[in-house]
């Protein structure tokens, strides 16, 4: 849709229409396939954000789609072993969030299929 809009704008005469720089979007062999996958981000204050991966940049600022927040309470460290989300009780729905790179402690990918232990 964007391209048709662009081309229609170009064919119309004067003045040169505004075009955003398109080259800021990069494909990356590791990061691009992760897009839209569900990831878990643990932040320094022991919270876990679970949502679908939308966007990231050099500083690792990450934007997550419909996101739920979990809180690791009571001195339990979230950075250590694998945390079972269901043990954390209620989550909180936050919607679209942006996690600054500096706060990220751990990034995990939720994969399809069941967990086998």
């Amino acid at each position: 849709m964007t391209t048709t809009l662009q081309s229609s704008l170009q064919t119309s005469a004067q003045p040169e229409p505004y075009r955003p720089r398109k080259d800021y979007r990069k494909t990356h062999p590791f990061l691009t396939p992760l897009l839209l996958k569900t990831i878990r981000i643990t932040t320094r204050d022991n919270r876990i954000f679970v949502g679908s991966f939308k966007c990231t940049d050099r500083d690792c600022n990450i934007i997550l789609g419909p996101t739920h927040e979990y809180r690791v309470e009571g001195g339990q460290s979230a950075t250590g072993k694998k945390v079972d989300l269901s043990s954390l009780g209620r989550s909180r729905f936050l919607g679209l969030v942006c996690v600054p790179g500096g706060e990220v402690v751990k990034i995990e990918l939720e994969e399809e299929g069941e967990h086998t232990e």
């Binding site: 919607g95 679209l96 969030v97 751990k106 995990e108 994969e111």
Partner: protein, 793 residues
């Protein structure tokens, strides 16, 4: 109360919330419609430990960081369907202004809900909750008011599904409460809180239901739908004890009250009285709110509950001083738990005295609203609505919703009178058409070629259309005042179109009924469109006057807007005269029995009386508007009122176009285009320059003031007469309010005449330059702000 109705309510509620979630979400977070399918809180799909399905998790921290570092500054890896515009709406984690999860949890964890409290402290907590409740009623979010209470948080956080589960923890399961101290917390506070939550639930439900109904009613019109916007219905996915029937909560409160009576001797009398009043208030308040509106029709009106709540509130007010505040029982940190995409917001401080005053007003008005049940005809109800909604401060959203819900139930007035009948009776009262037009016998004719069949077709169509517009008027009035004016502007266009259609109907009817025209100008009565035109003119006047009430106009625009008001009032007056000409010469139809003929005569007299009353009203409005018009244009041109800022973007003509926008689209009466609009009213800056000399201008001023004086004296007479009128048709329900309204208009009238006199005096002495003008809208009728003229010292 009633379980089947409750079930229905819940179903409706569900439908409504699904719909409003869809609407709301699109705008709140940029992620579009489907972002909230995960629901609010609760456990996310796939992570539910209960069914044993666990997604496989892989740590990718290192690889991710490494990969990110390979990007250059300014480069993004991005989902192609995700735009940067959307990203602006993202909640930034760890930003204290945005991230409600960041709030310190100390206050939260350090407060012991189960700690024993002094009776004084309990009173303080209860009063704090009451203030919060009123703050919610007046438009603050639950997250900033009631939900900040740690007691409510404890009560609601595991979403109790039965009364037994709803408590502050421990002690509640089977254990007996022995002492007063234990009972304070686990009986009094607990049952009060449960009652409170149920109250919030019922208010929420009622307003949502009303929203839903409004939406359904408006399906057939081109009207825009607005939800009630003066209250925040969002509950952040916290369940408001929906599963516990109100009857249980009520009996819990009653039980607690009994318990309190039982141990009365152990307690200080003052404390006892304070606690007792609070519980009693809560029980009655809940009982009143929980009565489904459908039951009102069956004479189960909770009048007693409302009055008892009023009495209890008085005691609460008196005993408030006994209470000891417990500020740490409320904290905004609770917001970190609420499912919300909005940044943290401060707690709303609502003073207790103010809260009680607001609540008193609300209870009084809720009681007043019950008056509509004594329905005495459409015009009456209509008047009642006008004056009820015009109260200042405006009734709270719940009261407005209650009134509308009572008046309109199941698409009918009071759930029993079809709107069509109301419209018909209104037409009969106001216009008094010939019997043949709305003769019910027409319905029995089934032959399409027969005139009766055709007449019925025409009138049925007309009544259907009229009903939907008529209903819309009531719905619009239940909105807040600003929204009411906006909606009226839309309604007017619809009424205008309808008038054209109704005129066609009338022409048809004149043919079908072989109407004989009035001899002098060969005109037909046009009954159907007459009614429409009359309502339209009233609405037009309203839009103009509501602009004054809402302080939309600048002072230099006043004379122009009053010109418009008198223009419409004059049109209404001449239209009323026309209607009365037709009804005066009406003769009874042949073949009436003696009683019927008497009845007919009575109705005719009533109609003439009603028309006379309306004519008097229109004449008074017209006179007062013209007086105000003259007065304000004099003030403007004497430069006693600030002129508009001169700049290149604005001109008198542009301002005129903008102000007249809602009115210019109306076909009749047509507003003149700017070049032909009266110059003295619409050219504040330039009119004065057109006088050849100063003497001419002075003469003009004196003439205008004289005109204003005469007009004011006429309208004083009219209002004096209107104030004295007793038992006028249509004065029934709102009789007192109508009288008070006329008194206020009379006051504006007097104010205007004082201003005129002061100016005349100043002109005589040549001291106009020393005059000062202040516009007072407080003490006078909101439609007629009065200039107060004083001399500078």
């Amino acid at each position: 109360m009633n379980d089947t109705t409750n079930g229905l309510y819940n179903l409706l509620l569900w439908l409504w919330s699904t719909w409003s979630n869809l609407l709301r979400l699109g705008s709140q977070n940029g992620t579009g419609l489907f972002s909230n399918w995960g629901g609010g809180g609760g456990v996310r799909r796939g992570s539910n430990g209960g069914n044993g399905v666990q997604p496989k998790v892989k740590d990718i921290t290192e690889r991710f960081l490494e990969a990110a570092r390979e990007l250059k500054t300014g480069e993004l890896v991005q989902d192609p369907n995700f735009t940067l515009l959307e990203a602006v709406g993202a909640l930034e984690i760890m930003d204290p202004k945005m991230d409600s999860g960041l709030m310190e949890q100390d206050a939260f964890e350090n407060y012991d809900v189960l700690a024993p409290r002094l009776p004084e402290e309990i009173i303080g907590i209860l009063d704090q909750l009451l203030s919060h409740e009123v703050a919610w009623h007046t438009g603050s979010a639950l997250s900033q008011t009631l939900f900040t209470s740690l007691y409510l948080d404890r009560l609601l956080s595991p979403a109790p599904s039965s009364l037994a589960e709803a408590g502050f923890g421990k002690l509640m399961h089977g254990q007996q409460i022995r002492t007063f101290e234990e009972g304070l917390l686990h009986k009094i506070l607990r049952s009060y809180c449960i009652g409170l939550v149920k109250c919030v639930h019922h208010v929420n439900l009622q307003i949502q239901l009303e929203n839903l109904r409004t939406m359904k009613d408006a399906q057939h019109s081109s009207h825009c739908i607005y939800e009630e916007e003066d209250i925040v219905l969002q509950t952040y996915n916290v369940a408001l004890l929906e599963r516990i029937p109100s009857s249980e909560a009520l009996s819990l409160l009653t039980e607690t009250i009994e318990w309190l009576k039982h141990i009365k001797t152990e307690i200080e009398p003052q404390i006892y009285e304070a606690l007792f009043a609070r519980l009693k208030f809560r029980r009655n308040f809940l009982a009143a709110l929980a009565t489904p509106l459908d039951n009102y029709a069956d004479d189960k009106v909770p009048t007693a509950a409302w009055t008892d709540a009023q009495d209890a509130l008085q005691v609460i007010k008196e005993t408030h001083k006994l209470g000891k505040e417990v500020p740490e029982a409320c904290t905004i940190v609770v917001q970190r738990k609420l499912a919300s995409t909005v940044p943290p917001r401060p707690m709303v401080e609502y003073a207790f005295e103010e809260a009680v005053a607001t609540l008193e007003r609300m209870l009084k008005r809720n009681l007043e609203a019950l008056k509509v049940l004594e329905y005495r005809g459409g015009a009456d109800l209509y008047n009642y609505f006008i004056h009820f909604m015009a109260q200042n401060p405006q009734p709270l959203p719940y009261t407005r919703s209650l009134l509308r819900g009572l008046a309109f139930n199941k698409g009918q007035f009071l759930g029993k009178v079809p709107v069509k009948d109301v419209v018909l009776s209104d037409i009969n009262e106001l216009i008094f058409p010939r019997e043949i037009v709305f003769d019910p016998k027409h319905k029995e004719v089934e032959m399409p070629a027969h005139p009766s069949f055709k007449i019925n077709q025409v009138t049925e169509w007309y009544l259907l259309r009229a009903s939907s517009l008529y209903c819309q008027l009531f719905t619009d009035q239940a909105m807040n005042r600003s929204r009411f004016r906006r909606n009226l502007c839309h309604s007017i266009i619809e009424w205008d179109n309808f008038q054209v259609e109704a005129e066609e109907c009338d022409a048809n009817l004149a043919d079908l009924t072989n109407e004989t025209p009035l001899s002098k100008d060969q005109s037909y009565s046009y009954v159907l469109s007459s009614w429409v035109y009359l309502y339209k003119l009233r609405l037009l006047e309203w839009v103009v006057f509501l602009g004054f009430e809402l302080e939309i106009y600048q002072p230099y625009e006043y004379s122009g807007m009053f010109w418009l008001a008198q223009f419409y009032a004059r049109a209404r007056l001449s239209h009323l005269v026309r209607i009365s000409e037709f009804s005066k010469v009406r003769t009874p139809p042949s073949g009436l029995s003696r009683e019927e003929a008497q009845d007919w005569q009575k109705r005719k007299l009533l109609n003439i009386a009603l028309l006379n009353y309306h004519m008097l009203d229109a004449r008074a409005i017209e006179a007062l508007s013209s007086a105000s018009m003259s007065l304000y244009s004099v003030l403007t041109h004497l430069r006693l009122i600030p002129l508009p800022y001169a700049n290149s973007y604005a001109s008198d003509e542009l301002r005129y176009e903008l102000r007249m926008k809602p009115f210019q689209q109306v076909v009749s009466p047509q507003i003149e285009p700017f070049p032909r609009a009266p110059e003295e009213c619409f050219r504040p800056g330039t009119f004065r320059d057109e006088f050849a000399c100063e003497e001419d201008f002075t003469e003009w001023v004196e003439q205008k003031l004289e005109e204003a004086k005469v007009a004011v004296s006429y309208c004083r007479l009219d209002y004096n007469e209107l104030c004295k009128m007793e038992g006028m048709v249509g004065m029934g329900l709102a009789g007192d309010e109508i009288k008070a309204n006329y008194k206020l208009l009379l006051r504006s009238c007097v104010g205007m005449s004082l201003a005129v006199m002061a100016l005349q005096m100043a002109m005589k002495k040549g001291e106009v330059a020393k005059c000062e003008v202040r516009i007072d809208a407080e003490k006078y009728h909101p439609f007629f702000p009065v200039p107060v003229v004083s001399t500078k010292k």
